[in-house]
Amino acid sequence: MTVTKLKPVDAVVVGVGVAGSIICQELAAAGLSVVGLERGRMVDPAQDFAMPYAHDEFRHDSRSNLIQNLSRETITFRNAMSETALPMREIGSFRMGECVGGAGVLWGGLSWRFLPWDFETHSRTVERYGKKHMPEDCTNQDWGITYDELEPYYDQFEHIYGVSGKAGNLNGEIQTGGNPFEGARSREYPNPPTQATHAGHLFGQAAASLGFTPFSPPTSGSTREYTNLYKLMLGQCQRGGFCSSFTCAMGAKGSPLTAVLPAAMKRSNFELRALCNVIKVNLDSDGKRAVGVTYIDARGRTVEQPADIVIITSYTFNNTRLLLLSGIGKPYDPVSNTGVVGRNYSYQATGSVKLFFEDKTFNSFMGGGGSCTAIDDYNGDNYDHSGMGFIGGGYIVVNSRGAAPINNHPVPSGTASWGSGWKKAVAHYYDRSFAISSHGGCQSYRTNYLDLDPTYKDANGLPLIRMSFDWREPDLKMSAYVTKKAAEIAKALNPSKMSSNPVSGKYNIVPYQVNHNTGGVIMGSDPSTSVLNKYLQSWDVPNVFVIGASAFPQNSANAPTETVGALACWVADAIKEQYVKRPGLLV
């Protein structure tokens, strides 16, 4: 095999999605020579995302070619270590992006900050309830960074993606209209919040009547035209639906393609190479320093890109896999509970309550752009967990995504599953129903983890990543509890029929759930239990940084992307302000 060796650059970035694009732009703007390597194809929003095809549910939601092509690479999965993991042969529970922009092209735009509690679930739980309250086998740990440290970077991300919302806590003062439980913010959102849909409005009224505080959660579906931090213009969201899993024809959805890459692409010291699949980070002879990466380019050539700094932003699964394939960090062993790479894989436990009405219609096909109404009273540690047998919680939300009909035609339970009875119920309830979700988090446990599969390989002959994961009793209890609260609000709305579906049983990789896979390359303050330090820098190979939800030691109930983006801004600053001046461990 001949290997083409290229000229060295200052920084090479592996995967150009949400995290990767920000790092590329920030480092290039600071004058570093930067190459971004993306396995997926180049996209041209003006053509690829144009109307009317942007509103094709079948193309985008059922058969998307912007998500990972599993014929080349997938993951393997088992519920327990005693089982043989088998390949995920088709897309189900979650979708991974594969194009320039990554899943950030397809995302639904919900732009939550995490709660201050999320960063310190371990120490705050022990402090409030005592050590005994931590679930058995739970491997939660503090992040090594606090909400307050990350706050300026949340703010930065919000001014890149043009986030729309209403502050609930400005510098410690609770604001009406916002989320009173959020961490203190230094200033308002760049854009005003979304207006409630009919379903959201009814939910909000019912929640308020029960003493809760409803609000419109923050979103990157910009509520007005907005010029961002990089002087790029976002359009106004039209609330036309066709949003989550879809591309945005209006340039309104904050994404790598609208909000970041056009700025980076103008710089001569930045180069983006699409259809380049990175297979390895190359280390020097003593394994303490990365010298670059090896990738397979569009023509199938093996290419080596030398670089002083390697930044891996290839999403949870490949972030973990690339470290394991490259021998960076000690692989995690769940039996002895030693090693770190692959540790603390987690997900989100999301239940729902479905409501059906006879006398109300909702224009359910409208929405998207993060049109939500929520309450946060049962999220994190916002309520007393004494004697509950679990920690954490979830937010309760009506998410008016825009109900396109292939994937949204709910019928009450007990309806015939096909035939005239089904048809009648679909016709009647298509616009007379909605769901209230209990969007829960998930803690980390010793035997929920990622490692290399011993059997199955990708198209290059390299081992696939193997996921071992199942729900645990505390997370099921949490889902039952928060879903029950959602059902109480639902009841106040007097639906003619309703059904409650908390998470139960075993984790199943088949039905679509959430795209929020976390852990595997976690951050922390102790090298024996974390792969990365607080600057997302490898403890073992300090010129490697790994950014993504893979760094979360456990999963929040909130969607991850704003935190991923904030971490990218935080790492960019650490590299620019500290690392380039004094290469080496920053902690």
Binding site: P87, G92, K423, Y456, V510
Partner: protein
Amino acid sequence: MPDSSAAPANAWLFLTRAEARFIDAALARLIPADELGPGAKEANVTCFIDRQLASGWGSASRLYRMGPWQDGSPQQGNQSRLTPQEIYRAGIRETNLHCARVHGRNFDALPVDIQDGILKELQDGKIELESLGSKRFFNMLWKNTEEGFFADPLYGGNHDKIGWKLVGFPGVAAANYVDLIGRHDEPYRVTEPVSILDIEQGRVQVDAQGSPKHIRIKPAGAPK
């Protein structure tokens, strides 16, 4: 005037004529024509399925297809070696063999109540097919039926937007719902949903950004 709600005649990319008859007959039971209007057969979902089977999807082009092949737990999902093309081909052939053995005829020639019974048995995994679980065959047929009934007509199904009209879905969104989203008591209904096919075939005009204009049915009591 020709009846616009009857499915047009088709020429097949993948299906044999006999297979198309099987699917037509199954569709007529899965989403029947009834007092609410035409069903999946009239919506030409057979054409949708044929085109899908002839596409990359039909040969499982984006699925992980490397061995070893092994049955797993239900939580581990589909582990079948068969492509959708193979599932339809084997599923139809073997269901017809079952029908011929038990009822003396192919599926499409049976009375509707017997057809309903066969579909139910397929769905419940109660018919022994040689090559695959009957549930798997049924689930794929049903999923494709829903898809073909509600997908944009550009894919060959949802003829005359039958599926969209049934539920009141307006199709490609009009330029701006921002102001409408707050009008909670005003059902937004259009005289004719707009499809991508409509736009490409010049039946509907679009604005500079490519969004169509909807002709709304004025809700009772709405301001003129």
